[in-house]
């Protein structure tokens, strides 16, 4: 608790300066080695991924050969169907319909979820009042509301958007509210000590601190939106990719069915990747922290 030595209280100069810059040559060598290591890693990962994809494909062939076309379509048939559906515009039209419902529902859910989440997270009193209702809504499966939504809004695009909005809003809301109400207390006190007004405290400390949490809410919301869209398309007026899916399934056209499934997979993957990218950009400081750079 006390230091025994008594050096003079002078300023030790070395601590005041940044580390001396590396010479160009050694810095370049270091960077090259790091690049090489990263490259080797990515090559390995992509290689294994390709191998798994090939194994899956081989599995499809095997299943098709042993169990027949109904259990598993021939991969070439799936490819042919895909080409046909893309070239005659069926797939594009369906994708357009699906994307309309999905994006409208998701944007609506994001706007209302973030807005309400900020309110409920920021105003503790309101948060406490609405907590049980939000929880009840969040823990009810979105599909449970479909009959009611059909009665209220009909069977077409607007009703499907409502289904998606209803399913995706609550995870976004809950994540936003949690992010705000769990904002770092130390930083809040710091800002208060420097005389931050309530508005400043909110917009300059609590909301930025909650941003990673809001973004993971959006990511969950997007996944839920995709599911909600397909369910709405299956159960309400058949349309979009979901509609194609059930039509093909009902007629046991498994090659057609698989062609649609592949598009849905790609769509879901793309959306998640986009949101993860946004998340990384916004919370880059947090990630580098986790990397332990």
């Amino acid at each position: 608790m006390t230091e025994m030595a008594t050096p003079p209280l002078s300023r030790a100069e070395p601590e005041r300066h940044p580390a001396p810059p590396l010479t160009d040559a050694s810095a370049a060598a270091l960077a090259a080695r790091a690049r090489q290591r990263r490259l080797r890693e990515s090559v390995t990962i992509i290689g294994v991924q390709l191998l798994i994809a090939l194994l899956l494909l081989a599995g499809m062939y095997a299943l098709n050969a042993t169990a027949g076309n109904l259990t598993m379509p021939h991969p070439m048939a799936v490819l042919n169907q895909s080409i046909k559906m893309w070239s005659d515009g069926t797939m594009l039209r369906a994708l357009g319909e699906t994307l309309t419902v999905l994006s409208l529902g998701f944007l609506l859910a994001a706007a209302t979820g973030i807005g309400l989440g900020i309110l409920l997270g920021g105003f503790r009193f309101a948060g406490r009042i609405f907590d049980p209702f939000v929880n009840a809504m969040n823990s009810t499966p979105g599909a449970a509301f479909i009959p009611l939504i059909i009665v209220w809004f009909g069977l077409y695009t607007e009703a499907k958007v409502v289904v998606v909005w209803n399913a995706a809003m609550f995870p976004i809301l809950i994540n936003t509210a949690a992010g705000i109400s769990n904002a770092n207390k130390d930083l809040v006190e710091m800002a208060r000590a420097f005389g931050a007004t309530r508005a400043n405290l909110f917009w300059k400390v609590m909301v930025p601190d909650a941003l990673p949490s809001i973004l993971s809410g959006l990511r969950i919301g997007a996944a839920v939106s995709t599911v909600g869209t397909v369910i709405a398309e299956l159960t309400m007026a058949q349309s979009g990719l979901g509609g194609l899916l059930i039509a093909a399934g009902n007629r046991f056209q498994m090659d057609r069915y698989f062609a649609v499934v592949i598009v849905l997979m790609a769509l879901g993957t793309l959306i998640t990747a986009l949101l993860r990218y946004a998340e990384n950009r916004v919370s880059r400081w947090r990630l580098t922290l986790a990397d332990g750079r």
């Binding site: 608790m1 006390t2 230091e3 008594t6 050096p7 003079p8 209280l9 002078s10 300023r11 030790a12 601590e15 005041r16 300066h17 940044p18 130390d186 930083l187 006190e189 710091m190 800002a191 208060r192 000590a193 420097f194 005389g195 931050a196 400043n200 300059k204 400390v205 930025p208 601190d209 941003l211 919370s283 400081w285 947090r286 580098t288 922290l289």
Partner: protein, 278 residues
């Protein structure tokens, strides 16, 4: 009623928590004059942080009166705080963190960046203006915290164990820098520490607190030659005397509280002050 020339004046200040179950502070009275450097020392839980919060105006006293510049304290331009951990906004750069405090003071963008740069120069971090806090060492982060507090040009600088989390070497360097900064600007400093040596080394007055509830045990004037970053006082007999005296008082406190300590060890979950009430 308050001394007119005092910058900060506390009169019979008391503060409780948990609806009065935890008595954090009781009957605290002292003044801090402009340009004075005082230290608050005392065992953990004796209310040092609470006292700083009261002076900053973050919380209000239950009893007595806290005045800063003759008024009830309000977080704002006259006061600035340095915390034990630097408490920097991780999503802002070093520069952005200092500008944050300056923006709260209503400075224009241009003034903000000018002054932030000047302060970074003063703490030797100009090259790190665009770095993010996690890219700095603990000592460097603490320097940014200090720069942020100094940037607002406060009349009172409140410091809550600012060097406690640092290694001995960095702490030594930063103490020297703090003393130099203080001798140039002459704001009043209220410095919380539980390091007796540090308190004597830095301050002109040491206020020793005793716990359960937090009260003033003794106020000691430190009359050592200035400036202290040039003449290290730790070799002087006066320093050793003061040190011995303060440790003596603290050991007495520990003896008085020995029974309580035993109880505290047996029931670590209980609030010390709760047991003190018996």
């Amino acid at each position: 009623m308050a001394d007119t020339e005092a910058l900060i004046s506390l009169r019979h200040v008391g503060k409780s928590f948990k609806d009065g179950q935890v008595r954090a502070l009781q009957d605290i009275s002292f003044d801090v004059h402009p340009g004075e450097f005082i230290s608050l020392v005392g065992p953990s839980g004796c209310g040092k942080t609470t006292l700083l919060r009261l002076i900053n105006g973050l919380i209000e006293p239950d009893e007595g009166d806290v005045r800063v510049l003759g008024k009830r304290p309000q977080p704002g331009p006259d006061l600035a705080m340095v915390f034990q951990s630097a408490r920097l906004l991780p999503w802002r750069t070093v520069m952005g963190n200092i500008e944050f405090a300056l923006a709260l003071r209503g400075l224009s963008r241009k003034e903000q960046s000018q002054r932030a740069l000047a302060l970074l120069g003063a703490v030797g971090l100009r090259d790190f203006a665009d770095a993010y806090p996690h890219e700095l060492s603990g000592g460097m982060q603490q320097r940014v915290g200090l720069a942020r507090a100094l940037a607002v040009e406060p009349k009172v600088l409140l410091m809550d164990e600012p060097f406690a989390a640092l290694d001995a070497m960095t702490r030594e360097v930063l103490r020297g820098e703090l003393l130099q900064m203080w001798s140039r600007r002459r704001m009043a400093i209220v410095f919380v520490t539980h390091d007796i040596d540090e308190a004597i080394l830095l301050s002109q007055r040491v206020i020793l607190l005793r716990p359960r509830p937090g009260r003033i045990d003794e106020i000691i004037d430190v009359d050592l030659p200035e400036p202290r970053w040039q003449h290290d006082p730790r070799t002087l007999p006066a320093f050793a005397d003061m040190r011995a005296h303060l440790w003596g008082r603290i050991h007495e406190m520990a003896r008085d509280g020995a029974e309580l300590e035993e109880l505290a060890a047996a029931f670590p979950d209980l609030e010390p002050a709760q047991m003190g009430r018996q």
